[in-house]
Symmetry: C2
């Protein structure tokens, strides 16, 4: 099959989006931005055998590749709009491609994102790179760099679940009960788009959790030129993770595990109550886990007692 | 080295571009589109050992990865503005990365494109995917689909040179004289940005040559629901390719070779003279090689005699 036929068969679906003046099938797509809004550009790649197990169902590969990009747009407070796909695969396996495309389009449809172009190439390793464009009111952009001393640090959801799920997947655990829930958190991250866009005027900084809470918070703090005090006893854990793992493992999944695609964000202390109200409205669990301080680094306590934590967060190389 | 340090060291250069409100270092970039202009989105990937020889100098890998995307933007008549990079590499080889980045930024600077973000991952195979955004006056977009019967078919430059250069590279030919020129056409495609943006109101359709003149013209014709008559004796060849290869090989490099990143475009017959004038102004060689006809397919003649050509253009799978 040539690339042209492959794209037509699996990826060239009718786009119901007036902003897409020209979609798949030309040298490039032509899109019409909304006047007055700025663009958010993100790109995130997953590699078979590195970021996900080789035997992950192709639907989930497609779904995740989109979700992790949605999560980056969410972390800026933006609205995802358009995406392109650079897909490198060892061969044109029509069964795999068909399920992969289904997962990709499912995640895109949930977030009302249009696939406007792409490139399919042959490579020994499967590499899935999605590039996404969002848009945003210029006053709504949440950066990593806005956190200040005294700000509260919040996290959405129950971090650690995705990494715990991945470890269960890799160990060949049965996929029922708590395991099913945890594995689901890895393969289908629920991206906090609506909530994130509701806190753009409250949050001072935000980042999404892809490399582990510790490493990602560290990035936010470096951008903000600040430090943090974290109280580990405040970390919100799911009943499922606590049922399957001992407490040390749970702490490690949350701090170093990554793949959660939850949000970690900071707000001025005076806005804590508003955050809780917005979270309730959006039915999103949010938990205050510490505060920003001047200086640098992250100081952890557990029930008030200093806790030495050696970060083992995801290292790309 | 973690991804963060790698990006900072090799890719996070100061951006002198007011339209980039937030560049590398956050969850995403924030860019400010010009009012009234539409966006052109393209993505093109090169895989080591598939699209270029494994021992291609890293500078050239970086340069080419950008150039082939510039070429797609040019083929639409657009102005390239911003790009992101999804780079998958087996290890963080600082020597390789440093030269690769040099090539990437050189090509970007030549076209005044800003790198606004990216993603670096580990993969056994080196996969370089560049996503580029351009912008354009809505009335200037050149599609593949606008060619009509009677239109002239033009090509820029001397197609076949890049494929001939690649074959010389692969055969380990000495890299002097004509070989140096031909190899140069493969590793440093000269993208026809200025010329393309000068013919947006003259051309009825355009495509850039990446998979070979025959296959790419075929794509333009399918989009335009038309056929073509090509006179092979009109094909413009470089002195260098004619000095190194026999005529059959030259024809094949041009029709099936790919990698030229020249433009193939159509114009109403009445505009031929204007095209030649604009080409002269831009110091670009353009040659009329045939005409669009109703129907489908490409009918070749050589000095007026029917010529059977079996397309062997690049197949991705």
């Amino acid at each position: 099959m040539d690339e042209f036929a492959l794209i037509r068969r699996f990826f060239d679906r009718p786009v119901k989006d007036d902003s897409v003046r020209l979609g798949i099938g030309d040298d490039g797509a032509v899109i019409v931005p909304d006047p007055g809004r700025e663009l958010i550009s993100v790109v995130d790649t997953i590699v078979a055998g590195v970021h996900y197990p080789l035997d992950l169902p192709p639907f989930d590969v497609g779904y995740r590749a989109v979700a992790i990009n949605l999560s980056d747009v969410a972390a800026m407070g933006g609205r995802p709009r358009w995406m392109t796909l650079a897909l490198s695969i060892p061969q044109a396996d029509t069964g795999w491609l068909s399920l992969f495309a289904e997962g990709l389009f499912t995640a895109a449809a949930e977030a009302k994102v249009s696939l406007v172009g792409g490139d399919t190439t042959r490579s020994e390793t499967t590499v899935v790179s999605v590039q996404m464009l969002g848009d945003i009111d210029p006053h709504d952009v949440i950066k990593r760099s806005g956190a200040g001393p005294g700000d509260s640090i919040f996290v959405t959801g129950t971090p650690g679940d995705a990494a715990a799920g991945l470890s269960l997947l890799k160990s060949g655990s049965d996929q029922t009960g708590e395991s099913e829930y945890l594995i689901g958190r890895f393969v289908r991250p629920r991206v906090r788009l609506a909530f994130a866009s509701s806190i753009t005027r409250l949050a001072s900084a935000a980042i999404d959790l892809s490399d582990g809470l510790y490493a990602d918070l560290q990035k936010l703090l470096m951008a903000s030129k600040a430090g943090a005090k974290l109280e580990l006893a405040q970390l919100p854990f799911s009943a499922e993770i606590l049922a399957k793992f001992d407490y040390d493992a749970v702490i490690n999944f949350a701090l170093a595990g990554g793949d959660d695609y939850e949000l970690c964000f900071t707000v001025p202390r005076s806005k804590d109550a508003e955050i809780h109200a917005v979270a309730k409205q959006n039915q999103v669990q949010v938990t205050r886990i510490g505060r920003v301080v001047s200086g640098d680094g992250i100081e952890c306590t557990k029930d008030g007692v200093p806790f030495e934590y050696a970060d083992t967060g995801y290292r790309h190389f």
